[in-house]
C-alpha cells in the first residue's frame, strides 16, 4: 500500500485557503444526523468536541479521568506560540513555519506545518474571547516571552500554568455544548477498540471504569485525541494514566504508526531521586529565558554551587552554542547535559544532574527595579530582594513546585535538573485532513505524527492541539461526512459490534485468568528500563537489537506471570493498568524497530553511529528523508511504508544553533 498524504496542489501559502474554499460542506440539517465520537478531552479533544458541537454534529466525548478538565494538557507550563508579531520583532507566519520545520530537523511535512503557522494567531484570539487570562503588560495588552529554537518573542503565557488555562478554556466551551445537548460526556471511560463495518470506522467499544462493564457506541467517525506515549519509558513527565491504548488498538485495526521512535527528551526536569520514583516533573523551558545552565569545570567538584567561583564554572550551552546559548532546542540541550554528566562533570548525589541558576537573573532584575524606584546605587541586599520579587512573579509556581519536591529553595541555590522523557513526536500517521489510513478514523494533537518532525519546539504542542481541534478538523471532517449523510445510525446490535466486544472481553478475561506472581507495575518498570537504556537519548544498532529480544521475552513473561487482583465487573485500577502496559510492551518493540531502521541521527533520535566530529546529530537526507509509517501485519511483524518528504520551501541544511 502506498500512502496518499492528500496535500493540496498550489503554492505553500495558498494551500489551506484553497482547500477551505473547495472542501465539501454538510448542511445544518444533515449535521444533526451525524454522530462523531471524540476520545480524549485534552486540548485537541476538548477543542474538537466543542467546535464540532457548535457546528451541530452529535458528539460523544470520552475520557478516562473523572472530568474532562483533568486531561494532561493541563500540566503544560510555559506557553503557546503564535505568529502575532505583537512585539514587532520580525515574526511572521513564514518565520513560525520555518522555525518549526528546522526545529523538527526536516522530518515534518511542510504543508501541515504551514497550516499550523497560519491558524496560530486565531487560536490566541479564540482563547482570549473565552476568558483565558493570559499575562498582560501594564498597558493592558498581551505579554510574550521567548522559547527555545527561535529568535523572536512569540510565546503567549499565563504564568507557569498556560496549559491549565487553555484547557479550562476549551473545557468550558465543551461544557457549554454539553449543556446545550450537542455533546454527551462519558468520564471514567476507556476506549478499548475500534469497530469497523465494511472498511469504515463505525464506533468504539469502551469500558466504564466504575462498573467495569463494556459499552458499544456508534459514530459516523471517530477522532482519537489521546495524547502521546511517553509512559512507555515508565518514568516520564506524562500523567500516571497517560497511555497508548486507544492509538494502539487503532494501529492493530489498520492505522499506520508514523515515526514511533521520535521521542522528545526534555532537558529541564527534576532528577530521579530513587527507585521509588513514579514520575518525573518538568521545570518549564521558559526558565531558560532567565536561568543559566552550568556544571563545575572540575570533575567531581564537591563544593556547594554557591562556593564555586564564576571562573570555575562551565556554562556549556553558552560555550558550545553562542548564537542561541541557553535557548537551544530541547534535543540539543538534552544531549549536551548527558554529555557533561557522562564525562563526569554532573552534580548532586547521583551525579546525573546539572545546575539551572537564577542568581544572575535575580541581580539583573533587581538592578532594573531599583532603577525604576530612582535608586541608582542600591546595595546588594536591596538588589537581591527586588530581583527575587520579579523572578517570583514570572516563575513563582515553578519555584514552589521545585521546593516541594526537593526540599531546596531555588531562590537561594541553583536548581538541579536532568533530561526526562516528555513528548512523543511520533504517532498515528495522518494525511493532510488528519485522517489515519483507516477511513473515518482521525488522530489529532500529540496522538498524530504530523507537525513536529523529529523534535518539537517548546510551546508548540499547545498550539498544535488547539489548531487541530478548533480550526482544522471542523473543515476536514466535513469533507468526509458529506459523503455519509445517507448513512443512518447503525444499531449497536450489528454483528461487528458484537464481534468486537467479544474480542475485547476475551482479552480482559485472559488477563484476569493469568494470576501469576509479578505485579503490573513491576513489568512496566522493566519495560521502561529497557527503553531508557537502549532506545533513550542515545541509540545504537546493537542495543536496539538486544532491546527487541528483551521486550519479546518480557511480553511472554507478562502474559504468563502477571498478577491482577480484583474482579472484572468493578472499579479495578490494576486491571486498567494491565491493559495499558500490555499495549506499551508491543509499542516498545515497534519503537526499537523504527529506531533500528532509521540509521541516521535527526532531532531527538540520536544514533551513535551517525554524528558529526563535534558530537552533533548527523542526518542522512539521501536515505532517510521520509516518514516511516508502519503497518501492523501480525504479532512482532510490521511492514514499513515510506512517505517521502519533499521540501519545496525550507531547504534542509545541517541544523546549526552556533
Amino acid at each position: 500500500m502506498s500512502l496518499d498524504s492528500k496535500i493540496p496542489q498550489g503554492e505553500m501559502d495558498k494551500k489551506w485557503t484553497d482547500y477551505k474554499g473547495h472542501v465539501k460542506l454538510v448542511n445544518p440539517a444533515n449535521k444533526r444526523k451525524l454522530e462523531v465520537i471524540v476520545v480524549g478531552t485534552g486540548l485537541a479533544g476538548a477543542s474538537a468536541a466543542a467546535a464540532l458541537g457548535e457546528l451541530g454534529y452529535k458528539v460523544k466525548a470520552f475520557c478516562f479521568q473523572d472530568s474532562p478538565r483533568r486531561a494532561h494538557s493541563i500540566a503544560a507550563q510555559g506557553g503557546i506560540n503564535a505568529a502575532k508579531n505583537y512585539q514587532n520583532d520580525g515574526d511572521s507566519v513564514f518565520r513560525l513555519f520555518y522555525d518549526t520545520v528546522k526545529g523538527g530537523d526536516y522530518r515534518a511535512r511542510e504543508a501541515n506545518v504551514h497550516r499550523l503557522a497560519e491558524v496560530s494567531a486565531a487560536i490566541i484570539d479564540q482563547c482570549v474571547a473565552q476568558g483565558v487570562p493570559f499575562a498582560r503588560e501594564y498597558g493592558g495588552l498581551l505579554s510574550n516571552r521567548s522559547f527555545g529554537g527561535t529568535q523572536v518573542q512569540r510565546t503567549f503565557y499565563a504564568a507557569g500554568q498556560t496549559g491549565q488555562q487553555l484547557l479550562l478554556g476549551a473545557y468550558s466551551a465543551l461544557e457549554r455544548q454539553v449543556a446545550l445537548g450537542n455533546v454527551t460526556q462519558y468520564s471514567r471511560h476507556e476506549m478499548l477498540d475500534v469497530v469497523m463495518i465494511d472498511g469504515k470506522t463505525r464506533g468504539i467499544i469502551a469500558r466504564d471504569l466504575v462498573s467495569g462493564k463494556l459499552e458499544r457506541h456508534f459514530g459516523h467517525a471517530v477522532l482519537l485525541c489521546t495524547g502521546g506515549y511517553g509512559n512507555v519509558f515508565y518514568l516520564s513527565t506524562n500523567a500516571m494514566g497517560s497511555n497508548v491504548t486507544a492509538a494502539w488498538k487503532a494501529h492493530k485495526k489498520g492505522a499506520f504508526f508514523g515515526n514511533p521512535c521520535f521521542t522528545q527528551i526534555h532537558p529541564t526536569c527534576i532528577p530521579v531521586s530513587g527507585d521509588h520514583q513514579s514520575k518525573l516533573t518538568l521545570m518549564s523551558e521558559s526558565l531558560r529565558n532567565d536561568g543559566r545552565i552550568w556544571v563545575p569545570k572540575a570533575k567531581d567538584d564537591k563544593r556547594k554551587a554557591v562556593d564555586i567561583p564564576e571562573e570555575e564554572r562551565d556554562y556549556y550551552l553558552e560555550r558550545r552554542y553562542p548564537a542561541f546559548g541557553n535557548l537551544v532546542p530541547r534535543d540539543v540541550a538534552s544531549r549536551a547535559a548527558k554529555e557533561r554528566c557522562d564525562e563526569g562533570y554532573g552534580v548532586g548525589t547521583t551525579k546525573m544532574a546539572v545546575y539551572l541558576d537564577f542568581a544572575d537573573a535575580i541581580k539583573r532584575y533587581g538592578k532594573i527595579e531599583a532603577g525604576k524606584q530612582g535608586n541608582h546605587s542600591p546595595d546588594d541586599a536591596t538588589v537581591i530582594s527586588l530581583g527575587k520579587a520579579v523572578v517570583e512573579e514570572k516563575y513563582g509556581n515553578l519555584f514552589e513546585m521545585y521546593e516541594k519536591i526537593t526540599g531546596e529553595n531555588p531562590y537561594e541555590m541553583p536548581m538541579r535538573i536532568y533530561p526526562a522523557v516528555h513528548y512523543t513526536m511520533g504517532g498515528l500517521w495522518v494525511d493532510y485532513e488528519l485522517q489515519t489510513t483507516v477511513p473515518g478514523l482521525y488522530a489529532l494533537g500529540e496522538a498524530n505524527f504530523s507537525d513536529h518532525g523529529a523534535n518539537r519546539l517548546g510551546a508548540s504542542a499547545l498550539m498544535q492541539g488547539l489548531a487541530d481541534g478548533y480550526f482544522v478538523i471542523p473543515y476536514t471532517l466535513g469533507n468526509y461526512l458529506a459523503d455519509e449523510i445517507a448513512t443512518k445510525s447503525i444499531p449497536i446490535t450489528h454483528p461487528a459490534f458484537e464481534e468486537t466486544e467479544r474480542a475485547v472481553s476475551e482479552r480482559i478475561n485472559k488477563l484476569m485468568s493469568i494470576q501469576g506472581n509479578q505485579t503490573v507495575e513491576s513489568f512496566h518498570k522493566r519495560l521502561g528500563k529497557i527503553m531508557w537504556d537502549k532506545c533513550g537519548m542515545a541509540r545504537n544498532a546493537k542495543g536496539l537489537q538486544e532491546a527487541i529480544t528483551e521486550i519479546q521475552q518480557l511480553k511472554k513473561e507478562f502474559w504468563s506471570d502477571v498478577k491482577i487482583p480484583g474482579e472484572i465487573n468493578e472499579m479495578n485500577p490494576e486491571l486498567d493498568k494491565a491493559g495499558r502496559v500490555a499495549d506499551f510492551i508491543e509499542l516498545g518493540e515497534l519503537m526499537c524497530l523504527d529506531a533500528l531502521n532509521r540509521n541516521e541521527s535527526c532531532g531527538g533520535h540520536f544514533r551513535e553511529e551517525s554524528q558529526t566530529e563535534d558530537g552533533e546529530a548527523k542526518r542522512d537526507d539521501a536515505n532517510y528523508s521520509y516518514v516511516a509509517a508502519w503497518e501492523y501485519k501480525n504479532e512482532s511483524d510490521w511492514q514499513l511504508v515510506k512517505e517521502p518528504l519533499n521540501f519545496e520551501i525550507v531547504k534542509p541544511t545541517q541544523r546549526s544553533y552556533k
Binding site: 494532561h72 486565531a122 479564540q126 487570562p133 498582560r136 480484583g566 468493578e570
Partner: protein, 254 residues
Amino acid sequence: MEHYMMNLTLKVWKQKNSTTKGSFETYPVKDISSEMSFLEMFDVLNEQLIRDGKDPIAFDHDCREGICGMCSMYINGRAHGPWTKNTTCQLHMRAFKDGDTIVVEPWRASAFPVIKDLMVDRTAFDRIIQAGGYISVNTGNAVDANAIPIDKKDADDAFMAAACIGCGACVATCKNSSAMLFVSAKVSQLALLPQGEPERESRVLNMVAQMDKEGFGNCTNTYACEAECPKGISVSNIARMNREYLKAGLSTED
C-alpha cells in the same frame, strides 16, 4: 536535603462501592524514604498488598504535579494533608517521622459520593460549570486578541481566580460542605474580564442555582476553604460572588 527512613501505621478508609458501608483498615508500612511522595508511599503499600493477595487501595491521581486536581485524600483531618497550599500528590514523606500513624479518608460530602475507597464522584462540579461557567463564543467568532486591552490588575486577579484546579478540597474542608469557593472562583474570573460582561448576571444566578441543586451547603464564613485550598484561592472571591449575585438578583426582571 538529608533523607531518612521510617516505619508507619496507616489507617485507611476502605469501601467496596457506593452502595456498601465502609470502614477503616490498618496497614503497617515499612522502609519508607523521606524522599518519596505521599502517593509513592501508597504505591509501595499497594504493591505489597497485591503480592500478598490482598485488595489494593483505590485512590484518584493522575498528573502527580499538583495541577490536574484529581488527587483527593483527607490526611490526618486535613484536605491534602499537613502542608499548606499543596495537593496530596505534592506532599512528600519528609512531612512525617518514624512511628507516625496516618489516617486517610476520602472527601466527605453528600454531593461527592464515594465510588470506592478514597475515590469520590465530583461530577457535580462539571454540572455547575455547565450551568454557566463559560463565555458563549463559538469558534471563529473572536476579534483580535489585543483589540480589548485589559487592566493588568484585573487580568492578574482573574488569573488568580482561574488557578482553581477543581479538586474539591474546599468542599471537603467546609463543615457545611459548601462549594462557594469553587463556584466563586469561576464567577470572579469571568466577572473581572470584559469578555464575561454580556452573561454576567445570568451566569452567577444559574451557577448558584445549580450549586444548591447539587446539595452543597451554605457558606458561614469560617474561611477554612481558603486555608486548605492548594492554590490559595482567596475568599474575597466569595465576597465578589455575593455582590454579583445580589446585583444580578436585583436587576433581573424574570
